[in-house]
């Protein structure tokens, strides 16, 4: 053996890759865990049965102790965790603990809707952040479907005592499902090829549940509308209609305020604005009906408006609560395809390749040269942190520009030009793309930051049209 292998091994032994944050947070969890699972002391007077009880109720007691010792930071940190993260079990433990204190069917249904929102958030985040882990994703999908089933059962319980409350809960649930479906739909064309199947699986998982919930909503709507019509002549319904008109108008005003937090031109914002407009129209119908003293119709129109507002609110909330990677990808503007461009020619997404497999060359020398640019989401990363790379080809000319490639592989990106970080953007059959005048074609890559601290270079090449690079720093651990 060459002596340098021993030197390298020695270097490895000196290398300390442990993250201090991990070590500290794990210690906090461990201390709480030890408090919840005290060591058996034969003279302590605690019976064996009692000790076993402690062990069996581990997660609940862990949370009790956690709160008692004031380690709320861990709980807060756990709230953003997703399956596969160290704190995920903690997050679920907190939920289980909280559920013990939920009293009443209406509170229970709200709690379960909130819990469904968390499972949905996890499904969306996993699809983007851990696309390679299909087992985790599958588990998350199963967990989501099980949670939706539980929530639907709770809604059914509430329906017998308060159909309107049940309808509100079902609409909130459906709105949340729809919001995540919208987000995944928007992510789909912007993510790397290897991530696309996970996005589709997540969409399928959500799609199955939305169908079931929609049936429930229609049943509840029919029931509540029957009740409204049956009571149409009463004074109470007029008072109720008037109050709800004001309530919905106020909600619309709030929704406009809410969307101001979203970036201009973002697709999510456009979606939200469209829904608020529709809600405003439904409110106008309700106001007209109220003016004609048709109070039942007023309330029915208000149901539509309220549902649209619920969808808007859920969409904004889901976007704001998304993780950084999801937000960054959502913020990437979609390219404007030419009218003749088929959907399959949407911006390419990179797939990981073991080595530069091919060296595509353009089949025709372009007359107009696109401006190639590169951007990354940050200037400094910690080792292994995800870098989101955006490569753009902009058409500066006054006429459409068609880019041609020999294969569907259009762009690659790599860190320090090293093959092990190589990402290749390929779309089967997409050997050309037309960029409208003054517009851009965008590719988005996600690559892991290297472990070595210091300055690195992110290189990218649009095959046949130019290379670009940008520097970034990696901080030491």
């Amino acid at each position: 053996m060459k002596p340098d292998i021993f030197q390298q091994l020695e270097k490895l032994s000196r290398h300390n890759p442990v993250r201090k944050e991990w070590q500290a947070s794990t210690k906090r969890i461990l201390v709480a865990y030890m408090d919840a699972h005290p060591k058996m002391r034969r003279a302590s007077g605690i019976s064996w049965y009692y000790s076993k009880f402690f062990i069996k109720t581990a997660s609940v007691l862990a949370v009790v102790v956690l709160m008692a010792v004031g380690v709320t930071g861990v709980t807060l940190a756990a709230q953003t965790s997703i399956p596969g993260d160290a704190l995920y079990a903690w997050k679920v433990g907190v939920e289980n603990f909280e559920s013990v204190f939920i009293v009443g069917t209406q509170s229970r249904v709200e709690f379960e809707v909130e819990r469904t929102t968390k499972r949905l958030h996890e499904v969306t985040e996993l699809a983007v952040r851990k696309p390679a882990d299909t087992d985790l994703s599958h588990e998350a999908h199963v967990r989501l479907q099980a949670q939706v089933k539980v929530t639907a059962e709770e809604i059914a319980k509430v329906a017998s005592e308060n159909p309107q409350k049940a309808l509100d809960a079902a609409v909130t649930l459906q709105s949340t499902l729809q919001a995540h479906k919208d987000i995944l739909d928007q992510l789909a064309p912007k993510v790397v090829d290897s991530t696309k199947p996970q996005i589709q699986n997540a969409l399928d998982a959500i799609g199955e549940t939305t169908d079931q919930v929609e049936v429930k909503i229609q049943d509840l709507r029919t029931k509540t509308q029957d009740d409204i019509v049956a009571a149409h002549a009463t004074e109470a319904i007029q008072t109720d209609a008037k109050a709800k008109l004001e309530e919905v108008q106020k909600a619309i005003d709030e929704a406009w305020d809410q969307i101001s937090a979203l970036a201009e031109g973002q697709t999510v914002r456009d979606e939200a604005e469209a829904r608020i407009d529709a809600a405003q129209n439904a409110l106008s119908d309700a106001q007209d009906a109220y003016a004609k003293a048709e109070y039942a119709d007023t309330l029915i129109a208000l149901q539509s408006s309220a549902r649209l507002l619920s969808e808007t609110s859920a969409l904004i909330e889901a976007t704001q609560q998304a993780g950084i990677a999801v937000k960054e990808i959502l913020a990437v503007p979609s390219h404007a395809p030419s009218p003749s461009q088929s959907p399959s020619q949407s911006p390419a997404a990179p797939t990981k390749a073991p080595a530069p497999l091919l060296t595509p060359t353009p089949t025709a020398t372009p007359v107009i040269t696109p401006i190639i640019s590169i951007a990354i989401n940050k200037t400094t990363y910690v080792p292994t942190e995800i870098i989101i790379v955006t490569v753009k080809a902009t058409n500066p000319a006054a006429e459409p520009l068609t880019l041609n490639w020999q294969s569907g592989c259009q762009v690659d990106a790599a860190i320090d030009d090293h093959p092990s970080t190589f990402g290749l953007a390929c779309v089967a059959g997409a050997t050309s793309a037309t960029i409208p005048t003054q517009q851009s074609f965008t590719w988005v890559f996600t690559l892991a930051a290297p472990l070595a601290a210091g300055t690195h270079v992110m290189n990218a090449e649009v095959f046949g049209y130019g290379k670009v690079d940008v520097k970034f720093d990696v901080s030491s651990l």
């Binding site: 490895l12 290398h15 300390n16 442990v18 794990t26 210690k27 201390v31 699972h37 073991p354 290297p450």
Partner: protein
């Protein structure tokens, strides 16, 4: 050895970086290594909390980590099955894509990691313990629950394997 909560917290402070590093070089993913290393201490405390004696803390922790890593690979249905008990029948060299994936995550130590990734798991384990974790043959034998002779033989073969990769 009587270990109470305070003592175990000290043990955690001392061994957490070592156990993490051991996991890190075995699974080659920071997230997975952190998860496994966290579980090691929870499992260890479960054992201690039941009143069971621990005579060799270091060996005990490494043994839990080793078992969790085996579980991890089994769960992941990794092709590189670990044959801890059969050093004479080393498993196949992992395929190129697996090595490639690991290289992405191990930029800084890529050269040596590349070689380590190409040797069988049971060989890599002893190399990591001996040269990265700086455990003695006796300590490795304790962790692996086998004889010192067996570990010496395995280590010798592991070095020979590594050497052949460097000379290739």
């Amino acid at each position: 050895m009587g270990i109470d909560e305070a003592k175990f917290a000290e043990i955690y402070d001392e061994f957490a970086p070592k156990i993490f590093k051991y996991c890190y070089f075995r699974v080659s993913s920071r997230e997975e290594a952190e998860d496994i290393a966290s579980q090691v201490f929870i499992r260890a405390w479960d054992h201690i909390a039941e009143g069971k004696e621990v005579t060799n803390v270091q060996g005990f922790l490494y043994r839990i980590a080793s078992n969790l890593i085996i579980d991890f690979y089994r769960k992941r249905k990794d092709k590189r099955e670990i044959s801890l008990d059969d050093p004479d029948n080393p498993i196949d060299i992992p395929d190129a894509s697996d090595v490639h994936e690991k290289l992405e995550q191990q930029w800084e130590m890529r050269e040596v990691k590349e070689k380590l990734d190409l040797i069988p798991e049971n060989y890599r384990e002893v190399i990591v313990m001996k040269y990265v974790d700086d455990l003695s043959i006796k300590e490795i034998a304790s962790v692996m629950e086998t004889t010192e002779n067996n570990i010496s033989v395995r280590l010798h073969r592991a070095i020979e394997k590594l050497k052949s990769l460097y000379e290739a």
